[in-house]
């Protein structure tokens, strides 16, 4: 039980996929315009991560070692397709906001990375918690980045105005603002790491 908790928590801070492993940045930067988009993307990716981690850990003994990567990709693509169809059916607005970045979850390095580095060597329960932890870590990172960008770019967070009379510089809603925010955040994390040492 203790080890399962550890598998879950490691993805959130110590091995955070975005800030520590620096994986899967393309969707992170592209959809972090607003917190709602960020949460949507995080949940979609978490679902794919959970599903593919569980299936991969279940079938790991049947997959020949040489063709394991294509097999993982098929499993991941299946879950991405499920996500795509569900989003289209139940939340067309979010689907339009996320655009091509939903099908692109399939080439998100976090998902394939977890399948290759963890799920194909571990049992179902730990793979489940590993996937969940990584997914939550990814979602948290997305929420942090998108909250900063939404606040600085539009003056609001989740549609609520925080400071009255604040005229936001709209550049933070643009692509260049995303790159600036992630660059500075990564720098900040490096600074914290150096201080600890």
């Amino acid at each position: 039980m203790k080890s399962l908790v550890k598998e879950f928590t490691k993805g959130i801070i110590r091995e955070n996929p975005t800030f520590v492993l620096v994986l899967g940045l393309c969707p992170t930067l592209a959809v972090s315009v607003s917190v709602a988009n960020g949460i949507g993307m995080g949940v979609a990716a978490t679902f794919v991560l959970l599903g593919s981690s569980m299936i991969v850990s279940l079938v790991k003994n049947f997959i020949p070692d040489k063709i394991r990567i294509p097999c993982f990709i098929v499993v991941i693509a299946t879950f991405v397709t499920i996500t795509e169809l569900c989003l289209k059916a139940y939340s067309p607005v979010l689907d339009r906001a996320l655009g091509i970045y939903v099908p692109l979850i399939v080439v998100n390095c976090i998902v394939l990375g977890r399948a290759e580095a963890f799920a194909c060597k571990n049992n179902l329960a730990s793979s489940f918690f590993d996937g969940l932890g990584m997914g939550v870590g990814f979602t948290l990172a997305l929420v942090i980045i998108s909250a900063i960008r939404e606040f600085l770019g539009t003056g609001q967070v989740l549609g609520h105005t925080l400071i009255k009379g604040f005229e936001p510089p709209f550049v933070f809603g643009m692509p260049s603002g995303a790159l600036l925010v992630i660059g500075l955040l990564l720098g900040l994390f490096n600074l914290i790491k150096d201080r600890k040492r």
Binding site: L104, V107, P175, L179, G187
Partner: protein, 202 residues
């Protein structure tokens, strides 16, 4: 289908919606392999080549396999597999035909399989040049051309970035910003200047 369309595809894919600086596709190699110009150029040449080839192949798959059999929902799955197979095939052909070129491309060719720019280009082509399950007039040529242009945009961004980072070697960068963070901050400034192309039309 006319020249005008091709020009606007060129401008939007290379400048306004640059693959890296505006669409954020293929960021991993952009920050990882952009420290020197030579490998950066090899990588972008490989990406341009693969995007062009995969644009053509995925168009045919979608038009003649997925649409007639009502399988459009298999788009993501089939494209990923086709691109992975295509990259392997190209690798084998290049190794056989031109070992020198193979050495120049090196591992970059293999890395492209998981480059989201390639899949992104294929999905974008389908989204833009198919209306309600029917190809628009000249759809294939547009897709192919957009593939080439996205590759060119990728090359442009990679070359600018690697040029800057080569000079950065001689600068004093704060220790916390070394490597990734400074690369993103430079990219942010680049992206800011590319934003100036917004509204550029023919």
């Amino acid at each position: 289908m006319n020249l005008h369309e091709f020009l606007s595809i060129f401008i939007s894919a290379v400048f306004i919606y640059n693959v890296i600086l505006s669409r954020f596709l293929g960021l991993c190699p952009f920050v990882a392999i952009s420290k020197e110009t030579k490998p950066a150029f090899a990588m972008s040449a490989a990406v341009t080549f693969v995007i062009t080839a995969s644009s053509a192949v995925t168009w045919f798959i979608y038009r003649f396999l997925l649409l007639p059999f009502n399988l459009a929902y298999l788009r993501t799955l089939s494209f990923v597999l086709v691109i992975a197979a295509l990259v392997q095939l190209i690798e084998m052909i290049i190794r056989k035909v031109s070992p020198a070129l193979y050495r120049a491309f090196g591992i970059y060719l293999t890395l492209i399989t998981t480059n989201c720019a390639v899949l992104g280009a294929a999905v974008l082509n389908i989204d833009m040049f198919f209306v309600k399950g029917k190809p628009v007039v000249g759809s294939f040529y547009y897709s192919l051309f957009q593939g080439v242009c996205m590759g060119l945009g990728y090359t442009l961004a990679m070359l600018i970035m690697s040029g800057i980072r080569e000079r950065l070697e001689f600068c004093k960068v704060p220790r916390a910003l070394h490597n990734f963070p400074i690369a993103f901050i430079i990219a942010s400034v680049l992206s800011l200047s590319f934003m100036g192309f917004n509204g550029f039309k023919f």
